[in-house]
Symmetry: C2
Subunit: 667 residues, 2 copies
């Protein structure tokens, strides 16, 4: 790839990348600014209220050049405040004054340009026209300030979110101009895409680098990003060859699993997050955060796991980076000095998780990180026989915490999810289980794809709502997939049930359909199992799930090729339509359907009580409807019959796997 | 008063005022900043959503001095961006570059300093610890983002407000350091009182001036401000010698008034805002905005008014600065070119007032202003015999309007309420009725006190809620009263009834008590009269109102002395306790009670179903409970019996009017 090209012009400069004008800097319309600000930060259970008190924002109007270094000053007689060192396709800003802690860079925008990325975005796949703060956090119970659930959650304790809140932000975007841009910083940052003339990057630190990527084709651009951020290990065959049942019913979980298998379900995993025991709070049944098998709730678990393994069924658990203060591991960590401390006292920083407090294992201490990887994940989990787990949280690191390596909480916060992923990956690698044990995370940040084998889309509401329901899963898969995260899935049935919002049979069945055509089909009982419909709580829902799990299993040979492709090329399994149809302008706006590999087009039904569904079939292929075999030309909009059990799925007529797809239609 | 004193020191400077350190400017902690920004403004029916896209904020670290002029630059080698000209106690900023449209000034804060003012503030009388944007607008239906009413109003169309929203903001504060500060600008501005070390003034223009006032006593400070901003004409005796009944029932209003009088009420005014006819919308019964008597609804109104006058009862009407497009005056104004235009077309700018559109009379055109004063207020209202009116609105001027004198909408918006007041005052003066005809306004800005005889507290909700109910009236009276507005009152019973929120008898009675001990006791039927209790809708409520109106009338001799005092000294009738008790530190935090003149202390009951009420009696006087005659020493907190009909009121034992007060206790 070409490097950035610098052209001094009219007292300023242009930066171009393979012919694209990327930065246009002039004295009267500067592209670079630095400043100073003081953040206001309030955190309540992973929900952050953040604002800036901005003291200065200095336009760097005057540029001078010394080889590959640009020196920028407020004006001709002022000393330089910022250097920009050009290094290939990378720009490295260097501030001359350590008090400067704000940075803005404007990137040239084109009128019809479209943008994607910014991590795992739940509300909007296309980013143009909005501002996206990038700070890992709870997504919020309700992410729509006009929804009653969001309002109630806000009033109940700052619990509501907004369209940009996500567990996994990342300061990286892809442009329809066929370049990508990455800001290398873990500081609080924001992408502002509201202006017609420029995209503005804001960072609450001088970034280490701004990196560009360019290609003629989107697939190559995505490949470059996956190389840059790291590709996950190949998903093992067991993870996509049947459903993973999420049950948290103690020992009864085994019998319920057998009944579901007896109903015809293809099952390759049993996920019991309550393997550590339960704690009941007003939010619902939660887990006891002391990462040791709970003998009372799961007697003789080691033998149970071994017995399941002989049948090809893996057992999965749960862990997160916190330690409940009433658990044994907390005491162990405390005694060994593995906990993060308060800024102003030599005592552990405790985080309120809603009716219980936890210590934070200080992963910046090598000894603490090793302890968690070996002692907790290694000995307590992998050695017990766990084949995978939800590696929950990672978004709650407070900003006023004292860390062993001296890292400022404002910089550590966004870094934490990736550090958390690395510790899980390290533990797995130490047991030689990379590519075999599968942990899944909702939190993320730059580079999480290098360590985390599988994302999950976080805590959807148990409904079809625009900003919180089932549809957010698709946008999450598409956005995160462009940044190196090949594998994505969600809680089948949704998770958050509050304020009287509960699952319907229709929702469960539509989610089964979505999950069947996703890399991993994993169910969840939700935060309030007793108040919500479960897969085995309704014969029609169970029968439908069983069939969908068989379809999911039948797709395994195809999915295996996609996994191989992901390793080889970095392409995600779920892809926006334009990735393989970039000549079709209509393909770009589709954010409610995805290509599952190159050959399947999946358009899940995202509304209640529908019997048909509109689908756009992109140009450049002929598309065969999976259930009817009817063929459609590309570049057409169709409204396809979509009763329960017949989710809108199409395959390319020229697919090498068309025989497999045709068989599936008979299942 | 002394002038500002400039002392160059440590490469910066200090400004002191009568020994007070006011501004401390140093190169490493500058007090002055200029910048450039682009506002985002969305207006829906007087509710504004405003944010700034800030391009630059330049710290002016380097100061040089030339006599009374300070020149400020970003640093020593940079050209000056701002001059500050010292002129007595006034600072006049002058920018060297017309592109600079943002200004910040930091004023030294002391740890225990308290602040008041900022116009008519409804939620907080003490301003420290919060930020207050200053932009005239609808206060919002609900001004508490945690209230269900605010949420519903927001969802229904951006209709909810926040703690700082007010019809009448003003960039003026008083400090417990016994100085006051005024920013002379009509631009969008904000006072930020969150920082412990400084108060920050923000303005979206370079202000014309920053003015200081200082005195040893608060009463003198308030007197200075009333001189600066202008004192209203003395309130005529009729306005405070009995109740003004608000009825909007067409001709039936007269019979209802007679029945209320027959029930024992003292009445000196009948206010029929529906004199122009009705228009029914989803918000409730509204008025037909064509400022001409409606013969069908009020047959023979001129004779009716004359007949009432012989009995000492005035008739009052309603007007606002807009003209409904389906009215005759709109056509008249349109033909004469009196309407404000769109920016981008030679056609009238129409404002959506909720199910009907209106033109805006362009008061920056002398001919249009004269037309409205003479043709509308003069001929249609005063010549008909109206003795007063609600001069409604003034807050809705859009920012993207084209005005005759070329004034930018961003600068005209805040100026509009005072211009509107001046036109009303001009019309009254032209008929020789100044000090006799009384119009009352909710909108305001700097200088409104010079023209407007009487403020009203805007549209309270019909409840006791913290940020919207009856209690907001007291904070509104106290804050606006410090800035020259001697006379204040409210809609007895509250106004806004939406989302099922309706009046209770208890609320009506408590509001009657508050209104009786206020300069003007005026009732209102509210926005939805048919769904809400009216004064004549419940015998107990009516009887209680009648008695309170007699008490109000009986107070007239005392209130007359207060009106004289207001003319002579600028002191408002309703005053914070500290105004006359500045030696008592406990007096400063009281914001739910007021001194009514020097001699009465009124502490209205602001909660439902109370039979007693806590009251703080300030030191420096002995206080006699109005109803029981019991005397209390000053500097004490008492919980006083306060059943309905016995609102907590105390008089000074040394009052020259104590005989009058003793008589009232028998009413």
């Amino acid at each position: 790839m070409d490097a950035l090209r610098l052209v001094a012009i009219d007292g300023g400069f242009d930066l171009t990348l393979d012919g694209r004008l990327i930065v246009r800097h002039r004295p009267d319309s500067p592209a670079l600014f630095v400043g100073r600000g003081r953040p206001d930060i309030a955190m309540v259970r992973g929900n952050f209220d953040i604002s800036d008190r901005l003291d200065e924002r200095i336009a760097l109007r005057h540029a001078t050049f010394d080889g590959a270094r640009i020196a920028l000053a407020a004006h001709a007689d002022a000393p330089p405040l910022l250097y920009l060192d050009l290094d290939g396709a990378t720009l490295r800003p260097v501030a001359t004054d350590p008090a400067l802690n704000r940075f803005w860079l404007r990137i040239v925008a084109e009128p019809d340009e479209q943008l994607w990325g910014a991590g795992e975005q739940l509300s909007y796949f296309g980013l143009r026209g909005r501002r996206f703060p990038l700070w890992t956090s709870e997504p919020g119970v309700g992410r729509d300030k006009a929804s009653a659930i969001t309002f109630q959650a806000d009033v109940a304790g700052q619990g509501g979110g907004d369209y940009w809140n996500t567990n996994y932000p990342q300061p990286t975007w892809l442009s329809s101009r066929r370049y990508a841009l990455h800001v290398e910083t873990t500081a609080y940052s924001a992408f502002d895409f509201r202006d017609p003339a420029f995209h503005e990057i804001e960072a609450w630190a001088i970034p280490e680098a701004i990196e560009w990527f360019a290609a003629d084709r989107f697939v190559d651009l995505v490949g470059q990003l996956s190389t840059r951020f790291g590709r996950p290990p190949r998903l093992p065959d067991w993870a996509f060859s049947g459903a993973i049942l999420g049950l948290k019913d103690g020992e009864r979980s085994f019998a319920r699993m057998e009944a579901i298998i007896a109903a015809g379900a293809a099952v390759t995993g049993l996920w019991c997050e309550d393997w550590v025991g339960l704690r009941v709070t007003s939010f619902g049944k939660r887990l006891f955060w002391d990462w040791t098998a709970n003998e009372a709730r799961y007697p003789d678990l080691r033998a149970r796991i071994a017995a399941l393994a002989t049948r090809g069924i893996r057992f999965l658990g749960y862990v997160n980076p916190y330690l409940a203060i009433d658990g044994g591991l907390y005491q162990e960590a405390l005694a060994a000095g593995h906990l993060a401390l308060k800024l102003d006292a030599d005592e552990p920083y405790l985080v309120d998780f809603g009716e219980f407090d936890c210590g934070i294992v200080d992963f910046t201490s090598p000894a603490a990180a090793d302890w968690f990887a070996e002692r907790v994940i290694g000995q307590e989990m992998l050695d017990l026989g766990l084949a995978g787990w939800m590696a929950d949280f990672g978004e709650y690191l407070p900003t006023d915490v004292r860390l062993a390596n001296g890292l400022d909480g404002m910089l550590a916060h966004n870094a934490w999810p990736t550090i958390w992923a690395e510790i899980n990956a390290r533990a797995v690698a130490a047991r030689g289980q990379t590519g075999e044990a599968v942990f899944f995370m909702r939190a993320g940040f730059t580079g999480v794809s290098r360590y985390c084998p599988l994302l999950w889309a976080g805590d959807q509401s148990v409904d079809f709502s625009r900003h919180d329901g089932i549809g957010t899963v698709i946008r999450a898969a598409l956005s995160s997939g462009l940044l190196g995260n090949a594998y994505h899935h969600s809680d089948l049935g949704g998770y958050t049930s509050l304020f009287g919002n509960v699952r319907t049979p229709g929702l469960m069945m539509r989610w089964s359909e979505l999950s069947a055509f996703s890399p991993v089909m994993r169910s969840h009982e939700g935060n309030r199992p007793d108040e919500n419909l479960q897969l085995d709580g309704d014969p029609q829902v169970l029968d439908h799930f069983a069939r969908m799990s068989r379809i999911h299993a039948a797709l395994a040979p195809y999915v295996a090729t996609l996994c191989d492709e992901a390793v080889a090329t970095g392409l995600p399994l779920q892809r926006p339509l334009f990735l393989h149809h970039e000549a079709d302008p209509n393909a770009f706006a589709v954010d409610d359907a995805f290509l599952y590999g190159r050959d399947l087009l999946v358009a899940p039904v995202l509304e209640a009580d529908r019997i048909d569904w509109p689908v756009y079939l992109p140009a450049g292929a002929e598309w065969v409807h999976l259930w009817s075999g009817e063929a459609f030309g590309g570049g057409t909009r169709v409204t396809i019959g979509a009763t329960l059990g017949a989710p809108p799925v199409f395959f390319r007529a020229d697919s090498a796997m068309r025989g497999l797809f045709a068989e599936i239609s008979d299942l």
